[in-house]
């Protein structure tokens, strides 16, 4: 493994290396540090929470604190959404625990970080539980997920569970300012505010937005730049598509959908999920309207899983929006 070169993407460059550097997670950090003082006592861990709140960061910090410079040798990082099936996971875990059997210092185990573990199906999780049992003498698991409810009970009961809540707005702004300072970027308070609003508690998203914005206009990030970047790089296009559909401009909305697929390579599912997310951020709709529309989105999200052709399902979804959105009283 290469020595740790300096990262270029800020999300990596400024990812905390030690638990102490982690922002806004005092309680979790304190409990984890107790385990670090006496690693033998460390159980399997389950870190749950919305994206960009520091779960992976905390897991990597633990790896570093346990194994120091050689953390990569003693840590297996897997991502459930990338691995083809539980068999691959089993094989890789088996191989890994075979080669890393030698304990490191006073740490009697190797570490397996399984990210997005809630992407695994029930049967796969049952198999995982078995793997956890058979390799428990040599390995500790850190499971990372968005929703702990999607993890089967037997696994939950074998883990110490830590919940990560939405990051505090103030802490996020502080973090952005700190990074901007180190990168010699002039970040206006309004711009910082705008980024944080947009990121909705997802620090990774916020940092990516900051880095992109700073490349936009050499080292100066003001509100306008941020708005531009967000507009270009984000689901503003999804909102536009929804608006057009709700104005009854079905053909225009469909064109927008083709654009989204064409320019971002989004799959049908991804577009539907984004619609769901963006819908609630949109202004000019009553909560009841949003709920009705969300209901339709849900229906078509399901149909997408059943159907053969996502273009058709997405068009049909937009057609339902166009029907609902037409102002009342307009002639039929």
């Amino acid at each position: 493994m290469a020595a740790e070169e300096e990262a270029v993407m800020w999300v990596e460059k400024y990812r905390p290396k030690k638990l102490d550097e982690v922002v806004d997670l005092k309680d979790i950090v304190e409990s984890l540090k107790a385990f670090m003082r006496n690693p033998k006592t460390m159980p399997h861990l389950l870190l749950a929470g919305i994206p960009g709140t520091g779960k992976t960061t905390v897991a990597l910090c633990i790896a570093r604190e346990l194994f120091g410079q050689s953390w990569r040798t003693f840590t297996l990082e897997l991502n459930a959404s990338d691995e083809r099936g539980i068999d691959t996971v089993r094989d890789r875990v088996k191989d890994f625990s075979r080669y890393s059997r030698a304990a490191f210092g006073n740490v009697p185990f190797a570490l397996i970080i399984l990210d997005e573990s809630d992407q695994m199906t029930g049967p796969a999780q049952t198999a995982l539980r078995r793997i956890m049992e058979t390799s428990s003498r040599t390995s500790r698991f850190i499971l990372i997920c968005n929703q702990s409810g999607k993890i089967i009970e037997p696994i939950q009961s074998r883990c110490a569970i830590f919940r990560f809540s939405k990051l505090d707005k103030k802490a996020m702004i502080e973090q952005l300012c700190r990074i901007a300072g180190k990168e010699h970027v002039k970040l206006s308070p309004e711009a910082a505010e705008r980024i944080v609003d947009y990121a909705e508690g997802d620090l990774r998203h916020a940092i990516n937005a900051l880095q992109t914005a700073s490349a936009y206009k050499d080292g100066v990030v003001d509100e306008k730049t941020v708005t531009n970047v967000i507009g270009e790089a984000s689901p503003a296009q999804v909102q536009l598509m929804i608006r057009k559909a709700l104005n009854g401009e079905f053909i225009e909305a469909r064109k927008q959908m083709y654009d989204l697929i064409g320019s971002f390579g989004f799959s049908g599912n991804e577009i539907v999920r984004q619609m769901q997310r963006e819908l609630f951020k949109m202004s000019g709709l009553t909560p009841e309207q949003k709920a009705d529309l969300a209901d339709i989105v849900g229906e078509y999200d399901y149909r997408l899983t059943q159907g053969a052709n996502s273009d058709i399902q997405l068009s049909a979804l937009l057609a339902q929006f166009a029907k609902i959105g037409r102002p009342k009283g307009e002639a039929t």
Binding site: V8, V11, E77, S81, I261, G265, I312, A319, Q320, A322
Partner: protein, 409 residues
């Protein structure tokens, strides 16, 4: 009562000599049948549809006084079903011989190439076992003997090939039928029907019956419609008739006649809905049906073809949302294939490759990389292709090019 019969049944030959054409195959089959010392217990008759395979088997068994135990493609033929029906019949053949006038039983399995992969699980191996254990002759018929899964059957069977029946023989058969039915005919019309059948006797007789049965007249003009019906209705024609359907029944009739590819049809109909239905309520209703049809298509997958009728039902409803509001319009055809149009396999692989690199560097899954990183990376690269992010992520020049151009197509 007899008049209600399909002519193909009414005039199905009872004797081997009356079976039209395929003389070599007939001789080979009779020889096999009458040879008590036959080396192979089973025979596989194969050839195009409507050339007399089933007819020959029935005629021969009838003539030689055997009884036929038949299984065909409409029965489910998984291992259990085959063993249940065919097992006892083949095992106790000898008893029958004494108790009835029949000389014995023959097991006839028609359309063995129709044994489907999943539903008829173990079907082929069950047939193999039956052949091995059978004390009675086993006759099988198939259209396409080249199917991989039939290979084991071919090994243990005598193979007899059937060809398309020659046109002159079909002509004389049709003339005989016309005589018996007292139909006045123009020779050219008969010729036309025979040629149109491409050697398929069954379809020729069916065509003749459909044209001439009620009028008792057959002119060349009558056969005009025939070629049109047999020819594939083009996509444009299908769309035109579909969108102008006067009723749900019209629409579903049309769909069952048209032979255009289901998936193409589904996409074409979906593409044209906004042009057909200007009213948002109608459009939404039509799209709802098309969406349901697509769901059925998804459930059909590759082997649940019995769901096809629901697919057609939903699709037909999409065409009949509001017959009154129909006005002619120009179709979008061929269908727009958005995803394949923009996202060829090469592009997908390219994007996946970049996402994997991001994933390894930034500890995220490919999906997260695509959703949360690619949009930003795209803006970064559009601004500056030499951004040091490129070297850090170890992106290849073509990957940089690809990402920065992603917004334009």
């Amino acid at each position: 009562m007899k008049e209600d019969l399909l002519w193909v049944e009414k005039y199905r030959p009872k004797r081997i000599a009356d079976v039209v054409g395929n003389d070599e195959a007939k001789t080979a089959f009779v020889n096999w049948f009458n040879n008590a010392n036959r080396t192979k217990k089973a025979v596989l008759l194969y050839g195009p549809p409507g050339v007399g395979k089933t007819t020959l088997v029935n005629a021969a068994t009838h003539e030689f006084g055997f009884r036929v135990i038949e299984m065909n493609a409409s029965d489910t033929r998984n291992e259990k079903a085959i063993t249940r029906v065919a097992g006892p019949a083949t095992a106790f053949a000898a008893l029958d011989t004494f108790s009835t006038e029949s000389k014995g039983n023959v097991l006839f399995m028609d359309e063995v190439d129709g044994i489907a992969g999943n539903e008829d699980r173990g079907g082929v191996s069950a047939i193999l076992r039956i052949i091995e254990d059978s004390r009675i002759p086993v006759v099988m018929a198939a259209n396409d003997p080249d199917i991989e899964k039939l290979r084991p059957l071919k090994k243990v069977s005598t193979l007899i090939r059937f060809y398309q029946v020659r046109i002159p023989m079909i002509i004389s058969l049709l003339q005989k039928i016309c005589q018996k039915e007292r139909i006045k005919t123009e020779f050219e019309a008969i010729e036309r029907i025979a040629e149109n059948s491409r050697g398929d006797v069954r379809s020729a007789i069916n065509d003749l019956q459909s044209i001439a049965e009620t009028t008792k007249m057959l002119t060349l003009q009558d056969t005009e419609g025939l070629s049109a019906r047999n020819k594939d209705i083009s996509m444009d024609e299908t769309l035109r008739q579909f969108f102008s359907s006067k009723s749900l029944l019209d629409a579903s009739m049309l769909l069952s006649y048209s032979s255009v590819d289901y998936d193409e049809l589904l996409m074409s109909i979906a593409d044209n809905l906004p042009l057909r239905y200007k009213d948002p309520d109608e459009l939404a209703a039509a799209y709802n049906f098309v969406s349901r049809a697509d769901m059925f298509r998804g459930r059909i997958g590759v082997d649940n073809w019995h769901l096809l009728r629901y697919f057609f039902n939903s699709l037909a409803e999409a065409g009949a949302v509001s017959p009154k509001s129909y006005e002619p319009f120009t179709f979008i055809s061929p269908p727009i294939r958005v995803i394949t149009l923009f996202w060829t396999k090469g592009k997908r692989t390219m994007l996946d490759g970049v996402c994997t690199k991001i994933g390894q560097r930034c500890h995220v899954s490919r999906a997260t990389a695509k959703n949360d990183f690619i949009p930003f990376l795209k803006v970064l690269l559009a601004k500056n292709k030499a951004n040091n992010v490129v070297t850090w992520l170890e992106l290849l020049p073509e990957e940089v090019e690809f990402i920065s151009k992603m917004s334009r197509f």
